[in-house]
């Protein structure tokens, strides 16, 4: 296991493992910032993995597969936005229902298209994209600038989200919707439109996070391929205090734990890997207890805004 033992290999693996957490968590954060609390990540990721894999298999293009995964995620997001923002139904109930739909649809689609076979079909995994010049820096270049395109994308989208939310007036409006939608509404911000947009884009990101798994890790789609990463993305969003920059940092911790537990699984270690896999959840709980101010969540998270309702909350 050369990859684990060399520092470069270890660091590269962490960046590789970072991507699904970052994408899924930023997607969660984005809709949460307008008050829509998405809890269907695990289902959306599975659907994204399945649809992305199948489309890539038949079009022979990973890019089209990724786009298809984003569309599939976006459709689930549209449903979530419709039920919560338009119909004002309970977001958690809808989110859980959408999780089950994603879970079921992902394996159904695979069985309908591929059927039952002994020889699982494969897609080529996403190749590395060496950044000119930067990729030639010793050690760092190998770790940071010789990765697949989605690694760069996940870092860039985090930076872009940070800039958008905190440095533009659109971001100010977006954050206001999640903090006090009535205030935003009374100032002429279109609350419903904001919620639809963020929920659809956020879910599309989560869908891409799912497609990443067969396209980078395994080359094949298997049931339950996400292994709980969707749930962990919710934990990471709280861990990162619903802020894009901290989510990116927090994702490193989640990725390190994942790589370590993988290592424990393969080479064996004194600490059971099952325990390692629970670490992110436990840490998130402690972070929420002791740094509550830091993990401040959008005030209107999970609630539905109804203009004609006489009292908020």
């Amino acid at each position: 296991m050369d990859q684990f033992d060399s520092f470069i290999g270890f660091a590269r693996l962490i960046l590789l493992a970072l991507v699904p957490y970052v994408l899924a968590s930023q997607g969660t954060m984005l809709s949460g910032r307008t008050g829509v609390f998405n809890v269907a990540q695990e289902g959306i990721m599975l659907l994204g993995a399945s649809v992305g894999f199948l489309v890539a298999l038949y079009t022979k293009s990973l890019l089209i597969g990724i786009v298809a995964a984003a569309v599939a995620g976006g459709i689930i997001g549209l449903a979530l936005a419709y039920f919560s923002s338009t119909l004002k139904m309970d977001q958690f109930v809808i989110g859980l229902a959408l999780f089950f739909i994603g879970l079921g649809a992902s394996s159904l689609a695979f069985k309908l298209v591929v059927g039952v076979t002994l020889q699982l079909p494969r897609v080529p995994t996403l190749s590395n994209l060496r950044i000119p010049l930067l990729g030639d820096i010793p050690i760092l270049g190998e770790i940071l600038f010789n990765q697949n395109a989605l690694v760069y994308f996940s870092v860039l989208i985090s930076i872009a989200l940070y800039y958008y939310l905190y440095q533009t007036s659109w971001g100010l409006e977006l954050r206001a919707v999640g903090e006090n939608p009535k205030s935003a509404d009374s100032l002429g911000v279109n609350v419903v439109l904001m919620q639809y947009a963020t929920t659809i884009i956020g879910s599309a990101l989560i869908g891409v996070a799912g497609a990443y798994l067969p396209m980078v890790y395994t080359g094949v789609f298997t049931q339950g391929i996400t292994q709980g990463r969707g749930w962990l993305a919710i934990a990471l969003t709280f861990f990162g205090g619903w802020r894009p920059q901290l989510i990116l940092l927090g994702a490193f911790f989640f990725a390190i734990v994942e790589v370590l537990s993988l290592r424990a699984q393969i080479v064996g270690s004194a600490i059971p890997y099952q325990f390692l896999r629970t670490l992110p959840y436990i840490t998130t709980i402690f972070v929420m207890i002791y740094a509550f101010r830091w993990t401040r969540v959008p005030a209107f998270l999970g609630l539905n805004y109804d203009r004609e309702k006489r009292s908020l909350s």
């Binding site: 205030s183 935003a184 911000v189």
Partner: protein, 515 residues
């Protein structure tokens, strides 16, 4: 100017229903350019509903709105803002974690949207705030700011959008008398520069001081519109309360005839509080430090303060809901360590301020809510089973006495309107006939006859020698009913005034920590 040219806003035949409730019925309102127009009425008269229709928050069932003589469709606040209408809601619509400037510019088309460069907007905000005497720090985060400043932010929000018509919904409820004066001066400066203001209130004194013309609403109907000099105070009172009340014998309007009775106090101490301290649950700082006071039999002791200065904690610690330090002696026995259940049994009752969260079981019936707290005692319970017959009989009596509007005692409490929930809370507390009653903002959300009813009930308790701790943000109410008023600021008692020394400005200074 012809009449039509001087008219800025006209609302005609506005009707709005919420389910079976008719909130507005054929309401007409006419506001001229450059005037402060008072919208007067008791709680539940429909003032706020009417303004929410005007601001596009509520969709009217019928009626017409014309701005500048042109009929306008107002389907959303965005359209209202576009017509030059700005509204300061009673509960401020602000993002607490944003700065004042961010709250003000939110939703406006900034010239440089991608950079959120607030330099130019801040200059405009400063200019407006100087012009109208609305001083504030544009960079301060709102959660740290006092109510007076947060209200200025709301007003500046409207001015920043070049509002021609500013609506203020009960803007004085959370202000000290000094802050009220400063607000009035700002409003006068605004109309002088050509704006129109709609000033919503239930306080007659305020409209008479400030407004040129006054429209009175009652039970969702517009009763009259009169210029201030055209009518006497009595005309407006009659329009507000209707014919059902005898104003000449009213506690609210014929105060002097009750003065000697209210001034009387018993001699025996009922409650003695010594060194009461309450620590905040989340942070270490004390929210109440070292309070000592006594309350005699037949006394109504008032607690005056801006909301959030320890009122809630005082009530909850005396009721055993919140842990506290210090010594509390009630009716000759120490009760510091007793739990709420025992305190209820010994004759203390509590009407919480936040009736929805602290006072009500929304999914229980009105009858069940009415006997809550007495439900362990006969005749409602034999210790094991509830006696439904006795409960229904008693609750029907209370529903009749307190005029709670409900289909039956068996209806769900959640279906009651705000004012009726308050009547239910009061009925519950008064029916326990407690030796000591702690009431927090008891008349909030009540119309004038109901307020009058509550004051009469308090007077009855006084005659019977019972004590009342009246916590209120309404100075008029405190000065009307109390024998003594304690002013509090940031968890401390600043001073206690005796009846006869009551002075709104003095209490205002004490409440803002200036004395």
């Amino acid at each position: 100017m012809t009449p039509s040219e001087s008219t800025l806003l006209e609302m005609r035949g506005v009707r709005k229903t919420f389910g079976p409730v008719i909130a507005l019925d054929n309401v007409t309102l006419n506001v001229k350019r450059g005037e402060i127009h008072g919208l007067l009425g008791g709680n539940g008269a429909g003032k706020t509903t009417l303004m929410n229709v005007l601001f596009g928050l509520y969709k009217a069932d019928a009626g017409e709105i014309a701005v500048d003589g042109r009929v306008a469709q107002v389907r959303s606040p965005r359209e209202a803002i576009g017509l030059g209408i700005g509204m300061v809601h009673q509960q401020f619509l602000q993002v607490n974690s944003f700065s004042a400037a961010e709250n003000i510019v939110l939703g406006t088309p900034l010239r440089n949207r991608p950079t959120l460069d607030l330099t130019t907007p801040k200059q405009k905000i400063r200019a407006l705030s100087e012009k109208f005497g609305l001083s504030l720090d544009p960079d301060a985060t709102l959660e740290s700011q006092p109510m007076g400043v947060r209200q200025r932010v709301e007003i500046l929000k409207a001015l920043y959008r070049d509002a021609k018509l500013l609506i203020l919904d009960e803007p004085t409820t959370m202000l000290t008398p000094q802050q009220v004066d400063s607000l009035f001066n700002s409003l006068r400066a605004m109309v002088k520069s050509g704006l129109s203001v709609i000033f919503i209130t239930h306080k007659l004194r305020e409209v008479l001081t400030l407004c040129e013309r006054i429209t009175v609403l009652r039970n969702g109907k517009s009763v009259i519109t009169l210029a201030r000099e055209e009518a006497t105070e009595d005309t407006f009172i009659k329009a507000m309360v209707g014919e059902e009340m005898n104003i000449g014998r009213s506690l609210l309007f014929a105060k002097s005839s009750y003065e000697t009775e209210i001034a009387q106090v018993g001699s025996k101490e009922l409650l003695k509080v010594d060194g009461l301290s309450v620590e905040a649950a989340s942070q270490e700082n004390q929210v109440i430090s070292d309070w000592s006071f006594t309350l005699r039999e037949g006394e109504i002791l008032g607690v005056a303060g801006v909301a959030g200065n320890g009122q809630h904690e005082l009530a909850e610690s005396l009721m055993g809901i919140r842990p506290c330090k210090g010594k509390v002696v009630f009716d000759g026995a120490e009760m510091t360590t007793l739990v709420t259940r025992d305190l209820l049994a010994r004759g203390i009752a509590y009407v919480p301020e936040n009736r929805w969260d602290d006072g009500l079981l929304p999914k229980a019936t009105v009858a069940q809510n009415l006997i809550l707290g007495s439900h362990r005692r006969p005749p409602y319970s034999n210790g094991l089973m509830l006696n439904l017959g006795a409960i229904l009989k008693r609750s029907q009596e209370l529903i009749d006495e307190f005029k709670i509007k409900t289909e039956s005692p068996q209806s769900l409490a959640a279906n009651l309107s705000g004012g009726n929930v308050q009547r239910m809370m009061l009925a519950r507390a008064f029916s326990q006939n407690p030796k000591l009653m702690i009431v927090h903002n008891p008349t909030q959300g009540l119309d004038i006859p109901s307020t009058e009813f509550v004051y009469n009930k308090l007077l009855e308790r006084k005659r019977a020698g019972m004590g009342t701790l009246l916590i209120s943000e309404n100075l008029d109410e405190l000065f009307l009913m109390c024998n003594r008023v304690a002013a509090i600021y940031r968890g401390r008692i600043v001073g206690v005034l005796e009846r006869g020394q009551f002075d709104a400005y003095r209490v205002g200074r004490m409440m803002s920590g200036l004395e």
